[in-house]
Subunit: 290 residues, 4 copies
Amino acid sequence: MLSFGQYSEDGDWVEHTAESVIAAGRTTFQSYLFFRSPVHGVCVALDGDIQSCEADEAIYHEALVHPAMLVHPDPRRVLIMGGGEGATAREVLRHPGVTRVVMVDMDAEFVELCRTHLAGWNAGAFADPRLDVQCRDINEFLDEPGEGFDVVIGDLVDFNDPDDPAAALYSRQLYERLRRRLNPGAITATQAGGLTTGRTAAHAHVRATLDAAFTNVSSYGIVVPSFYHLWSYVLASDERLPDVDALPMERFAQRATARRLALPATGPASLAATFALPVSIYEKLQKPAT
Amino acid sequence: MLSFGQYSEDGDWVEHTAESVIAAGRTTFQSYLFFRSPVHGVCVALDGDIQSCEADEAIYHEALVHPAMLVHPDPRRVLIMGGGEGATAREVLRHPGVTRVVMVDMDAEFVELCRTHLAGWNAGAFADPRLDVQCRDINEFLDEPGEGFDVVIGDLVDFNDPDDPAAALYSRQLYERLRRRLNPGAITATQAGGLTTGRTAAHAHVRATLDAAFTNVSSYGIVVPSFYHLWSYVLASDERLPDVDALPMERFAQRATARRLALPATGPASLAATFALPVSIYEKLQKPAT
Amino acid sequence: MLSFGQYSEDGDWVEHTAESVIAAGRTTFQSYLFFRSPVHGVCVALDGDIQSCEADEAIYHEALVHPAMLVHPDPRRVLIMGGGEGATAREVLRHPGVTRVVMVDMDAEFVELCRTHLAGWNAGAFADPRLDVQCRDINEFLDEPGEGFDVVIGDLVDFNDPDDPAAALYSRQLYERLRRRLNPGAITATQAGGLTTGRTAAHAHVRATLDAAFTNVSSYGIVVPSFYHLWSYVLASDERLPDVDALPMERFAQRATARRLALPATGPASLAATFALPVSIYEKLQKPAT
Amino acid sequence: MLSFGQYSEDGDWVEHTAESVIAAGRTTFQSYLFFRSPVHGVCVALDGDIQSCEADEAIYHEALVHPAMLVHPDPRRVLIMGGGEGATAREVLRHPGVTRVVMVDMDAEFVELCRTHLAGWNAGAFADPRLDVQCRDINEFLDEPGEGFDVVIGDLVDFNDPDDPAAALYSRQLYERLRRRLNPGAITATQAGGLTTGRTAAHAHVRATLDAAFTNVSSYGIVVPSFYHLWSYVLASDERLPDVDALPMERFAQRATARRLALPATGPASLAATFALPVSIYEKLQKPAT
């Protein structure tokens, strides 16, 4: 029996049964594995960490994209940092007011692999004329002068400890650079890793980083079954953001309706409720790490 | 390295590292294992399934007990079906209006083991004069004429398939018997197993069973990190219940305040938000199984 | 981390780390997986059981082929039952007196996969004009009148319990058919599965089957590291065979020298010593199963 | 399901199912775990490595003790280095000419645990008046002037890499000290870890160490099923020793008979044959490591 195992967010061992391997190898930047699970469908792992699984990637991607897009009254120009699978772009492009999406992912080979092996998953996003895919370093991109964005979505690989090299993707320098490319009223969202009672350091690090760059930050999370954990995200803006005391139930429902948004995996109520984290977890997020 | 492994709700394999074994053996009814995890603290397993772990048992038990108790305007008499660990009783007894709690758990040996090994966990509940522990079959108890209850909490072992013997604890017969012992306006809550995108049959079975006995049912769920899944519950009553379109945010907050309830693991907002399940999961719960 | 796990011969769980997957799929008859282990090199599994690994397949194949070939004073015509990987043929063809080898393996697709992915492994055997590969059912082949053989090597998939369908490949019927195709003085050898202190049933079944068809049988075994066990074989003949009280040390050495046989993985002394099984295991092989 | 996992000698992962835990904790020197496997019976692990299992400890201990004892024409005084379980002493004491056995094991608490939990295993050895158990450091013991020994058995914990602290138990210093306490014609045997095609470094290190202190060394190995590997040993002496070209078949059989030795797990032929290692493994042992 073939299986794919990894340590969970809190240090136990989780194995996904693998029916078959679709593609495996290394790009210039990372090792990749596309396999088929009898439970979760096609799964994608990078450097030994599951990134997304067919059966519930829509939960992950809807929760990543739509809170930021629904908080913003009229998002037109959107920047995606990372997002190689194409599913983040797919969700962004569902908002009819969007006129331009720039997706900056360093790994052209991985983007190509996703285009080939995850076609049902990108659902035509790569062919949408509004999408501009740039395979380059995000810091380089942000340093150039250029257009501003209304919403920025961070779909970069996650890290387990603040010492992990991938933590650089969640640094103050990057977010300071990012500020220069934001339109007034911009909303930024980023995934922030698995979140458990015992391991809150990674999320707290991301939150503290964004907190240094923006007036307001807000944490939220949703269960992605194939990740075996609550998956967490951070919203940041100089505008007011939803939080545990002000779940944006009606706003999300109204704007989703107005934009004729299908949210087939989550729904507006479920997305609004993601901001009500259990207090025993929420309390640990205020300060960086334990 | 010692570890405790079990298939997750959806068929993958999850291993908890075990630092040491505190107690292991068999009672008349089931095998038990109390072990210490470096991640989750003391963990309790019955017949090979984790029941609770020290680090987050409060999330599981608060979510099991308080929605029903907060929906009811004045719960005084409470029945707990199962609940051997004593933590369900602990949560019930926090509501100051409660005058009597009957806990019916078939397995006297397991209750005694929990009293010994989980003392911090029951937190004195077994010594509370309002608690009456009866170690006997729940069906037998319900068949006798006797006092009525305002709230009933089902904290019985879970099952994976409707064919599993433990499924009898979630049968229509049991709930028909239960109805005879309910006071007007009674609220019933039961745990209903792990809930994932792919495996919804166990929850749907519990929900359908309660749906046959009560006018209204409502599903909700919360992440218990050591269970590696969304954990689900069903509320049932002839009264109106919270649901995804009517999260009881204010009611839960007001009643928690009025009753001076500490909800240190979850909080009223988080408990109210548990009713907003992702639609891709929620839709599958309406009908029994797939 | 990708890994390939299977229950060991005695019921524990063994996982081979998999660096990459070379080929995976199903033929008409069985599922196959060719993967690369950092420890054992290329590994081949059929229906979830490891068949051979690059790092030590030579130990398995030398031990399968050479005792029978060295017991026989002048083996010319050899039949291989199974042997899809081509390495059994490779070993047989090393004996310079061999003029014809018929290899009967049912699964043409698997033979083709081995020709492609295990080229270093067959080492040109498939190109040797003395080898005649016939992809068909072994029973059918044996039923036809035809040439006789001096040595027969059984390299068929193994089975764990006498109830397993693969046990038919080790049936009395098959060996009665086989007798009709044997030359006088013929020696038969077959692999007979993993052999441990606790699990001797599979080997005992094979031994009993051959014992019913031949005057003499002899059990032997060698450690194949990647199999995590003593691997066992049975020799059968109407001639006298080596056994624990008469290790053929000198005969094997002399004949290997005379035939200029390289036995790079095992050596003649090690092959002769394989007949000295520990008595606690040997005693259990005399009667079919426990 | 509770299980005990460890990396195998060559880096794969092997899990023993654990039915129950008999004792677990730490002594001053090491962590211990006594558990029951449905396959191997009671198993003992120290610092995360299996030491012995009830079902086949006799194979391990007979192979450790009897080759040295049978090579020596008249062993009377025997030193055991380590051997806390008491089974090595049990085997030594079976030789009727033995008048005195000194067992030096540093860990008094572990020896006591074995006396309690492995009583069937020591089989009364600890009560034999010929046995003198000294719980102290072996270097200290050897530094003192004192009696000489005919046979020395090393049953110390094994190590995986020459850098491992336990490698000090296999150092030249220790064997130089040991020489001062040897009677003329003395034979030394030590266990030397698991031995696989890919991992020969630990054995080669032990062999090289003994080679520096003695005129002759000889490697041998036997399968201990619960160790999932060929288990290896080294004999050392200034006398002539058995080797792959001179298996001591008759000598072992004659001396076992003369001493009325039961060798119920292995037998004299099987012990003699352990010196015929496969050449692909044997060749790698001559030089320290790869």
